[in-house]
């Protein structure tokens, strides 16, 4: 089993899918699923191996190096699984659209490029795959035309800025060390000054920060996530932005290294605490903005910005528990956010809208999707026995024990904000009144239910038995030079506080059974329709009012004046300035030959004037 085979299957499969699509749609669907499933199987087979392999294509004498270790394996398997599920979901979601061959080609190509990123062992091939991913993401974001075009444009402009920063950093590294091999750079970098390391961190940090949507580089994300087709939103939010996370892990712990990273600056002004503060702000503000959204996907998009903050906070804090929490949260977020985007996609597919003010009561119409969403939001909040709880617990615990209660406060308060928007999401879509026009809505098709079921199951599995993943993460942590954690199958044991999910699980199970028996012992209840409700004597006309509209109105009135997206406005201001400037410059090129002759004459006159006065030549 070799690494190049995985990439050949991924890229070749994408191309083949496109070609087969020209002949038959069924064949294309089948091939797309088979290719992505085989990628999952291949990557799974590579578990636990570490290898490095160099190829030379004669490009400036630079090698094309493929590398596998525990870190890249974890990312690769996540990419393969989420990619496969979203392709399965696409089968019925995208059927009605135009250019479906192109869509599947792009989806497969994005997954292949992401696999390439995590498997590459040198910065040049990293950069090439990074660019393939970015450009394909642009094409997929603007797939729906209309407002999606503007969203895609915003994304690609920010992405290019990131890529340029990456290029500058990469060229500077090549200039200093004469190599782009990551492990060679890592061993050489210990000898350079801390100023140079800060420069490298800044250039790469901007590139990865834009992809990971850290404040203040987050502005492309809400538009892109809400306008992209739902299955691609799942990929975008679940794994594509996590390539930024992978980049940060690579930069901070592999290239720069643990000791150098923790030694940059001191106290509040160290690089580490700056990054932590950035992470905390990234958790806090977007969470409050998410509460005020009325578009289901836009709400989830802002939530993605917030959750990415937890990951950055965990990674930047730099203790073994925090790192474990950060990496675990990356994995969990990929699962539950993909699940939520797919579930909302199924609702949009059946009802044609994702407006939280007009949906409602779909729990009885789409039970599987409802249960999936319920599990998803529980994980997003971090309710115990879902995977989100374990990762958040790890992050909180280390923040408290290491004496950073203010960071912990931002993280915890972010969670309480999360409850508000999660409840709004599930209440306004699945609970509450079922409007008359959605009375005939059907269940989601099987190809949409399947990914939802798989992801819900995975969330509960890793919530009850987090040790499965914590062992892998522990191996990553020790490879970065951290002390090993005392991991068991159901949690983490330590002197300062133990987590034991199996105890919580049995307690919940036992209490559940007892309460359920008590509930059944009472007199039987009569099932009534939703219109048969108690309104304290007031008459409630059927289907006249929608009770869930503007759900948090009092809060909205209070906090919305404080939550202007100043950063976004600032970027738009820059964009409009550049546009004006470019408009001015354009006037020079009028296309009239007479003008050009005039420019030449003026220029010559200027030269003669200079020569006559100062005689420089």
């Amino acid at each position: 089993m070799s690494l190049e085979l995985v990439l050949i299957i991924a890229f070749g499969g994408a191309l083949l899918t496109y070609l087969v699509g020209k002949i038959s749609c069924k064949g294309r669907d089948f091939l797309a699923v088979v290719v992505s499933l085989s990628l999952v199987a291949f990557v799974a087979c590579l578990y636990g191996r570490s290898m490095e392999k160099a190829f030379y294509f004669g490009f400036f004498g630079l090698g094309f190096i493929l590398r596998l270790n525990m870190l890249s394996w974890l990312f690769a398997i996540t990419i393969a699984v989420v990619g496969t599920l979203s392709i399965i979901f696409s089968l019925s979601y995208i059927r009605k659209g135009e250019k479906t061959d192109f869509y599947f080609f792009e989806m497969a190509l994005v997954n292949a490029a992401m696999l390439g990123i995590v498997l590459s062992g040198d910065l040049l091939s990293f950069y090439i795959f990074w660019e393939i991913m970015s450009w394909n993401a642009f094409l997929l974001i603007s797939y729906n035309k209309g407002p999606a075009l503007a969203a895609g444009m915003k994304y690609i402009i920010m992405s290019i800025i990131g890529s340029v920063c990456f290029l500058v950093g990469m060229l500077s590294l090549y200039d200093s060390f004469d190599t782009l091999n990551i492990s060679q750079i890592a061993s050489a970098i210990t000898s350079v000054s801390s100023g140079y390391i800060l420069f490298i961190l800044a250039t790469f940090g901007i590139a990865f920060g834009i992809k990971n949507a850290i404040l203040p580089f987050h502005t492309w994300l809400p538009d892109a996530h809400s306008e992209a087709p739902a299955p691609f939103s799942a990929v975008l939010s679940g794994i594509l932005i996590k390539m930024g996370t992978y980049g940060f892990l690579l930069l901070l712990y592999v290239i720069v290294g643990l000791k150098v990273f923790l030694g940059l600056g001191s106290g509040l002004f160290s690089f580490r605490s700056m990054l932590c503060c950035l992470g905390a702000v990234t958790i806090f503000i977007p969470t409050f903005i998410a509460m005020l959204q009325n578009d289901a996907k836009r709400l989830l998009a802002w939530s993605t910005v917030g959750q990415a903050g937890y990951i950055i906070l965990g990674i930047a804090f730099g203790t073994n528990l925090a790192l474990a929490g950060g990496i675990f949260h990356f994995f969990n977020h990929a699962l539950f956010k993909a699940l939520l985007f797919l579930a909302i996609g199924a609702v949009e597919f059946r009802t044609g809208t994702r407006d939280l003010n007009s949906l409602g009561g779909l729990a009885k119409k789409m039970p599987v999707v409802f249960v999936g969403t319920l599990v998803g939001i529980c994980a997003l909040i971090g309710v115990p026995l879902t995977n989100g709880f374990v990762s958040k617990w790890l992050i909180y615990k280390t923040l408290i024990i290491e004496g950073s209660p203010f960071l912990a406060f931002f993280a915890l308060a972010g969670t309480w904000g999360t409850i508000l928007y999660c409840y709004k999401l599930i209440h306004n879509v699945f609970l509450g009144q079922l409007p008359e026009k959605y009375k005939t809505v059907e269940k989601a098709p099987l190809s949409m239910q399947l990914p939802v079921i798989v992801l819900s199951f995975a969330i509960l599995l890793f919530g009850i038995l987090p040790g499965i993943l914590l062992k892998i993460i522990n191996a990553i942590g020790t490879s970065f030079g951290f002390e090993s954690l005392n991991v068991t199958l159901w949690g983490i044991a330590s002197e300062t506080g133990t987590l034991n999910t199996i105890n919580i699980f049995s307690a919940v199970l036992a209490a559940g059974v007892i309460v359920w028996i008590i509930f059944r012992l009472g007199a039987k209840s009569v099932s009534v329709s939703q219109d048969d409700s108690y309104a304290a004597g007031a008459y409630t006309p059927v289907d006249k009012y929608h009770y869930t509209t503007e759900f948090y109105n009092p809060l909205y009135r209070m906090i919305s004046p404080f939550l202007r997206d100043i950063v976004d406005e600032f970027y738009y201001w820059i964009a409009s300035c550049v546009q004006k400037l470019a408009g001015g410059v354009r006037r020079i090129y009028s296309g009239d030959v007479g003008y050009y002759v005039m420019y030449i004459i003026f220029f010559l006159a200027f030269l003669i004037f200079v020569q006559l006065n100062w005689k420089p030549w």
Partner: protein, 298 residues
Amino acid sequence: MVTKVIQIILSPVLALVIGVFFLGLARKIMARIHWRYGPPLIQPVIDMIRLFYQKSVSHGRMFDLGIILSLVGSVVVVLFMPFGKMCPLRSSGGLLVILYIMLLAPLGLAFSGGQGANPNISIGVSRKLILSLGYEVPLLLVLLAVMTHYKTISIAEVVDVQQSTGWSIISWPLFLSGISYLLILPAILGIRPFDISSAPQEISSGPMAEYGGKYLALATIEHAFVLFISIALFVNLFLGGAANPAIFFVKMLLVFVLGLCTNAVFPRFRIEQAIKYLWKWPTLLSFLGLIIALAVRS
């Protein structure tokens, strides 16, 4: 092992008995403050038994499951809560787990109510969640101050330390935090001036509007548990817990009667006023409290 099993069975039962006793006591004391005679102490028990045998309506699967979930959450929290020397699950995650499982109770009620499709429920749940966001801000700062000061996330250890060094509310690093907790306690308990989400005269008990029969009985049990948990948390963190259940009970009783006196004399806030109050003085105090706790630690 046997004592542990007994503790696991005993502590929810004790919590329920105390919670229901508090419910009865609340009606009695409120009546006396209003110069009425008031119902007998066991009135809530009588009501519950009667309700169990009465007819009720259901609005769907989630309507049933939500209330069960909320009750399960409360029962599990009780297992994590030290009561005197009793704490069956003391080493399974500590205060952070308590914080999180405490979520299940309001969340379950909100899920259940959500399927009721009733305008009053919708308003009530919205208010409840906004209010909880309001009091969680100071509450989190207070809890973080306690955890920072004692350098642990285990509530049982916080109690143990206080048993030897004295109550934390009268130790100066945590004094401000304790005061702040007292100021937000009515909001956590949902009593006046913070009974915004239930508001019987305004939105006919909000989230409970569709409940009847056994649903109402379970909601009352749930309310009893919430009373117990919120007060027990305060007693454990700031009044030193207790060496035996009797003293613990007396401490809880004192805190509860204090809360009732507030309840008896205040009118109800609007939701905006409540948030403004909660994010002003209690937050300021708990913020200062956390800074002090952090300064003392280092």
